[in-house]
């Protein structure tokens, strides 16, 4: 797997879809491609987020700590992107990501990503657009939930 293929994978992520190829290449070049053994942890809930991960090959479990112990909320596969919220703002990791099989991932460091944004504000614009889209989406979901709750109340 070469840099060029990593660039292709990055381009499939909506946040990066409209970014210039040369800048995506720079992003890939300044990131690390890492192998994780099965059971190794990519990031841990509660830690300060310092990187986002693009899964190149393999599977990973997303778990959150509950009072009854860890709860798997999702399973990630090839080409999934995870941890991006933590590299955009200073919030602790909201979940733990653990490799389920041997896994290869591109690790995009927060510090480098921010410097890149500083250099190419177009990237920030695309990221902002993607986040707004997500916000709108979750607002719509909330509205739906509220409405169904109201209906439930009426009954």
């Amino acid at each position: 797997m070469s840099l060029q293929q990593e660039v292709e994978l990055l381009r499939k992520i909506p946040m990066f879809a409209n970014i210039e190829p040369a800048q995506l290449k720079l992003l890939a070049f300044t990131s690390e491609r890492l192998s994780y053994a099965s059971g190794e942890v990519l990031c841990r809930q509660g830690d300060t987020g310092d990187a986002a991960f693009l899964i190149i090959a393999g599977e990973a479990d997303v778990t959150i700590e509950t009072e009854k112990g860890p709860l798997t909320v999702a399973t990630l596969g090839d080409h999934d992107f995870v941890g991006e919220i933590a590299i955009l703002c200073d919030v602790p990791r909201t979940a733990t990501v653990t490799a389920r099989s041997d896994l290869k991932a591109l690790r995009i460091e927060k510090d480098l990503f921010f410097r890149l944004i500083g250099e190419f504000p177009e990237i920030a614009k695309e990221v902002m657009r993607e986040l707004s889209r997500r916000l709108a989406h979750s607002n719509a979901q909330l509205r739906e939930m509220a409405m169904s709750l109201e209906k439930g109340g009426e009954k």
């Binding site: 840099l3 060029q4 040369a22």
Partner: protein, 891 residues
Amino acid sequence: MEPTIFRFILKYSKAQQLWLLAVIVFSYPFLYLSLDMPKLIVNRAIGDPTGPPYEIPLFGVPVFTLQAGQIEFLITLSLIYLLLVFINGILKYYINVYQGQLGERLLRRLRYQLYERILRFPLRQFRKVSQGEIIPMITSEVEPLGGFIGTAFADPLFQGGQLLIILAFILVQDPILGAAAIAFYPLQIYLIPKLQRRVNELGKARVRNVRRLADHIGESISGVAEVHAHDTARLELSRFAERLGMIYWIRYDIYRRKFFIKFLNNFIDKLTPFFFFSIGGWLVIEGGLSFGALVAVLAAYKDLASPWKELLSWYQQKEDVRIKYGQVIEQFDPPGILDTDRLLGEPDGEADGSVDTAIGLQNVSLIDDDGVRKLDGATADIPSGAHVAVVGAGDSGKGDLAVAIAGLQPPTGGSVTLGEREINTLPRAVTGRRIAYVGPAVHIQAGTFADALTYGLKHQPVKDAQYEGAAVKRRQEEVHEAAQAGNTTLDFGADWIDYAAADVAGPDELERRMIDVLRAVDLDEDVYVRGLRGTIDPERRPDVARKVLNARAAVCDRLADPQVSRLVEPFDAARYNTNATVAENVMFGLPLGDALSEENIAENRYMRRILERVGLTGDFLTIGERVAKTMVEIFADLPPGHEFFERFSFISAEDLPEFQAILGRASRGLDALGEGDRNRLIALPFKLIPARHRLDLCDEGLQVRLLEARRAFAADLPDELAGEIAFFDPQRYNPGATIQDNILFGKIDYGQANAAQNVGKLIAEVLSEPELREVVMSAGLRSPTGPGGSRLSPVQRQKIGIARCLLKRPEILLINEAAAGFDARMQNTVVDRVLDESRGRTVVWVLNNAAMASKFSHVLVMEAGRIVEQGSPAELANEEGGAYRALLHDH
């Protein structure tokens, strides 16, 4: 600062200018004589032999009588002429060098003054000025001033005097010819400045238009899709043509005027000889003028042209420099500039050592330039030794309070006092040594960790540097020169570290203390890891080298464990190491000298012979071209000096344009490239690390051939290269490799997650001796932090900012949200340790997290620039409806 360049020159170089003038006046008689002598030779020695005896006159007065033949007389006069020419040349040389030196000294003084003024700017001034404006002012804009300063008075006098002497000479020979020679000067004096002024204006207009042209090109490039989509190419071309036209007409006008001035000067120049030939010739024929006199006048007139031209150009330069000086210095005189005494003065005896460290805030107000009230009557007393937390919302003015206490920003109303003294009357020598301030954004100057930590201890040299032999004289000259230019004579090379302030005896103890403060801010492990990537000299520390080799054996034993073997790719003579560079792989070792260093390896003749022999030259060229292409593609849009270049690029920012040009030439075929271009390209693959760079340029086939090159390289290594390389040898310490690589006898695998941490753990296990830890820490302290601390993460920079305050052992420690970027756990640890370190001394800590305030003895709660609550955190936390309580519950 002096309002005009002439005042500046007079103030700082009056004596030298006078000396220069004296030398120039002294040179005049020799000049006159050297002009007079040819006439004497032609008229007396050749044309009119009336001796012996022959009289040799100087200035018309016979000074010497020669009892010899005509030939001897001629030779004597010629020799005198030669001597005069020589003396003139020497004097001119002396004057030129003296002028250059004078100019450079004053330029040095001016730059020093400007830089000192920057250091004296009130902090708020930096919000108004941009670096991009200030830097060229001190570096390039004042440069022409240096050239002018030496000539400011000398040139008009020297050239003008020369002119007058030559004129006087001509006038003495013949008043009418003399008058003829200068008949046109008044016209030139009147006309040329007028014409030149218009040319200058046109020049400025041309620059404006070229900038506009650049704007248009930029606009077209970013909007080229629009041009195609709307079929507006014709419009853009016509707009561009119009701009080019403007430039053309300005340029045309400039040429016309410039060459007209030239024509005028030349014509007038040649018009005068016309009179000499016609009127002078007539006078010679009529017998009213000697032939020798006419020749001498013609020769003198030829000499007249050059000083006259110089005078005219002096005039133009003067105008230019006068405006430049004015434009520069007006930028360096902002209101509120600090007194030199406050910046550099030593504390007076009474204040020294006895400043009370109780902080008093009386009604402190601060209004910024936009009229916003940052502090609004803040009043509090902070007794010596108190640990005070300042809490409040982000815009409550808590940060401004810390800045005011540090004396960095004078309040617009009220007062901040240290004991009896108003803080803004105390020099930096008091505030900067007894108070330590660290803000939310720490700047780390380029250097090592140790440099960064000791920065706050370097107030003045404490121990002179030792000079020996020629260096002693050199240093004396240096001091003399610096004093001549009004610069400081403090020796930058001296030891500046104030060991007493850090409460240590010397460098060794200081190093241990640095490690202590690093531990206090939880940075010691990071420095340790860097230390592992440092080097030691095994000949100086054989004990350390031996212990490292023991550790290597321990690692080797554990390589059977897949958990370990997956982290490290060992050096193996028979295998290619994909985590090492191509150069390291071919050499199977590391360079010790320059011959095989990263910069020179591609041009090393032996290395090239090896590549040629195994048929790799062509591959290196092709790979080099592909690497260059990728680098140019991904780094071309970054500004030069961006830290990514240093960290990631194969090609430095300065070299990037050159590689762009090489790629352009390479597109016509690699074989057509010149030797220089080929060398640049072949150098690139040597830096390639396949596992890290993932450029897909070093496949297994190539690796096999590189191994072949490795064998060939070792087999025929010439003797002169034997000392240039340290081969990887399992039994020996490699002085070129890092401590870590020596322990691992291999490279960390770039592609393994958490490899660095796991290797760190592994090394900690095999390297348990505390003594070795000290050596590694010491190597870590010597590792570079990068320009502006760019090799450090923001959190690491903040930690260094706090650590160096601790190293200073200040009586008052001010921490202004410097730990805000740390996560809660780390913040907790650092606050505890810093407070513990500072027991008995005052700490004022502006917190972003109010909950942390419970660790302090006092809390100041701020709201809208006022201190609304103060007291012990326990009391305030229980106060119903209190501001502190509210802050606690927000979290």
